[in-house]
């Protein structure tokens, strides 16, 4: 897997690159300048670009803008955007541009290299990765007003993994259920959430997130 890193802090950038290389990831481009990344992007041909949301000059949300520009340049490149605070509006904005091969995680994930590599792999495979703690918070709240419509424990678990961006196979693996069972649960969940059952994997992430963020019952 070829990864490009866009991160302003020099020490962090080199520490991260070293840690990824130690985990057998090919870091093909590492820079703190968005111009340098956009310029070197074609030559480096990364599978995934890992970038901080806060970059110079303003340190506000340049990362999302760069992600959108990279996607315009190459729709197939994976994008994993990191942020210290989970802002669901940024996650939705990233998903708006198409949730395939896009991820939004907390910077904490830099501390857990194996899990970061796994997220990078999923993004490279065209999946979507949404920060679990963000989903967790939303699900907990939603369930407290959900009792009338009754999502079962199992269905809530499946919904959580769906909102985090996992494919049916990924959900099956993490819950220990068979794929068939997962599919059955999904049909029930889609019915309760009123998501059309033919929604492709990535549109369903957006639909799940939208449902989780709303407070209508």
């Amino acid at each position: 897997m070829r990864v490009a890193i866009l991160e302003d802090s020099v020490l962090l950038r080199s520490g991260l690159a070293a840690a990824l290389r130690a985990a057998d990831v090919d870091v093909v481009l590492e820079t703190g300048s968005s111009d340098e990344l956009l310029a070197g992007f074609e030559n480096a041909r990364p599978d995934v670009v890992l970038l901080d949301i806060r970059l110079p000059p303003d340190y506000s949300d340049e990362g999302i803008v760069i992600a959108e520009r990279l996607r315009a340049q190459d729709p197939k490149v994976g994008l994993l955007v990191l942020s210290v605070v989970a802002e669901s509006a940024y996650a939705m904005r990233l998903l708006d541009g198409g949730s395939s091969g896009v991820g939004y995680l907390l910077k904490d994930s830099l501390l857990d290299i194996p899990s970061l590599v796994s997220a990078l792999t999923r993004v490279m495979a065209g999946e979507c990765v949404i920060e679990p703690t963000l989903i967790d918070g939303l699900i907990k709240k939603r369930r407290s007003i959900q009792s009338a419509h009754g999502l079962t424990e199992r269905e809530a678990e499946v919904l959580r993994l769906l909102a985090e961006g996992f494919s049916n196979a990924g959900i099956a693996e993490r819950t220990g259920l068979s794929r068939k069972t997962v599919e059955v649960h999904l049909v029930n969940i889609f019915g309760k959430l009123r998501i059309p059952t033919d929604a492709d994997i990535n549109r369903r992430v957006t639909a799940a997130m939208t449902w989780l963020r709303s407070t209508d019952s």
Partner: protein
């Protein structure tokens, strides 16, 4: 006579009290009677003099008294209007200075928040992550069963906690989403991080930056109070904008009894007052709390 002197000195008294802020000469000019005022006075004096002259042969005392009274009355009218003009000019200047100061203050508030964010997010948090990497490397170099390894592992866990603490600190700072995506996105993102159920009804449009910032501070302050004290089932944040004013309401069905003289609420009232708005709170015990604010000029 003393009253006459006081009135006459009125515009100059205004200049004296506003000494630090107001251009005295400008104020005095504003207080000076206008050309029209002088013309009216001259005409009236001429009329009075003529009337007095006509009366003089028959009733000298009466004519003098009439002339004197009318001239005094006119003088008072001119001085009062001059004083009023001066007071209005002074009030306008004070208000303009206030607005300028507030704009500067809001800008400084935002800059300070962004500076703190930059330090914590881009420097401190990164340093902490680098410490984590060093610990990972160190753990690779020692025997996993050794005491050293156990110590390193504990330290490594502390690093994860440190990042969480830094994140909690940052959550109160100026949100990145406010500048780029507006009030609704910022409030929705805030609400999505809170462990309480909050319905958000905010129009998807932009407002002037200072209004958005203060509105965000009011809403996040109100929600922080709900989180800390209210024990509410449902909370609703509603923003509407019409007739050049933004109305904010944060309603919860918790236990009520909020202290409107409390420091937290006074802070929120200041946020409204800065922009010439108002904030009030209605919090009957056992029923819930309604916080309402208006911010003009949207």
């Amino acid at each position: 006579m003393r009253a006459f002197r006081t009135l006459r000195g009125y515009p100059y008294a205004m200049a004296r009290t506003s000494r630090n802020w107001v251009d005295k000469s400008r104020l005095i000019k504003a207080g000076r009677p206008t050309a029209a005022g002088w013309t009216v006075t001259a005409l009236a004096t001429a009329v009075t003099a003529t009337a007095a002259a006509m009366l003089w042969p028959r009733q000298p005392a009466l004519s003098v008294l009439t002339a004197f009274s009318i001239v005094t009355l006119l003088a008072w009218i001119i001085i009062l209007t001059a004083g009023l003009r001066a007071a209005t000019a002074a009030a306008d200047t004070v208000r303009a200075t206030f607005d300028r100061t507030v704009a500067h203050m809001i800008k400084a508030r935002k800059k300070d928040s962004q500076r703190r964010k930059r330090y914590v997010h881009d420097i401190a948090a990164h340093d902490v992550i680098i410490v984590g990497y060093s610990l990972d490397n160190a753990m690779e170099l020692v025997d996993a069963s050794s005491e050293v390894y156990a110590e390193l592992k504990q330290t490594r866990e502390a690093v994860t906690e440190a990042i969480k603490s830094l994140r909690e600190f940052l959550a109160d700072e100026y949100p990145g989403t406010l500048d780029s995506m507006g009030l609704r996105a910022a409030v929705q993102s805030l609400v999505d991080r809170l462990p309480i159920q909050v319905a958000v009804d905010i129009p998807d449009r932009r407002f002037p930056p200072d209004v958005e910032f203060n509105a965000y501070l009011i809403i996040s302050g109100a929600l922080s109070n709900v989180l800390k004290h209210a024990e509410a089932q449902t909370t609703t944040v509603r923003v509407t904008a019409d007739a050049g004013a933004m109305s904010i309401s944060v309603v919860d069905n918790g236990k009520g009894g909020a202290d409107s003289n409390g420091e937290g609420l006074m802070e929120l009232q200041l946020r409204a007052a800065e922009l010439h708005g108002e904030l009030k709170i209605h919090s009957p015990i056992g029923v819930g709390t309604t916080l309402e604010a208006t911010l003009p000029c949207v």
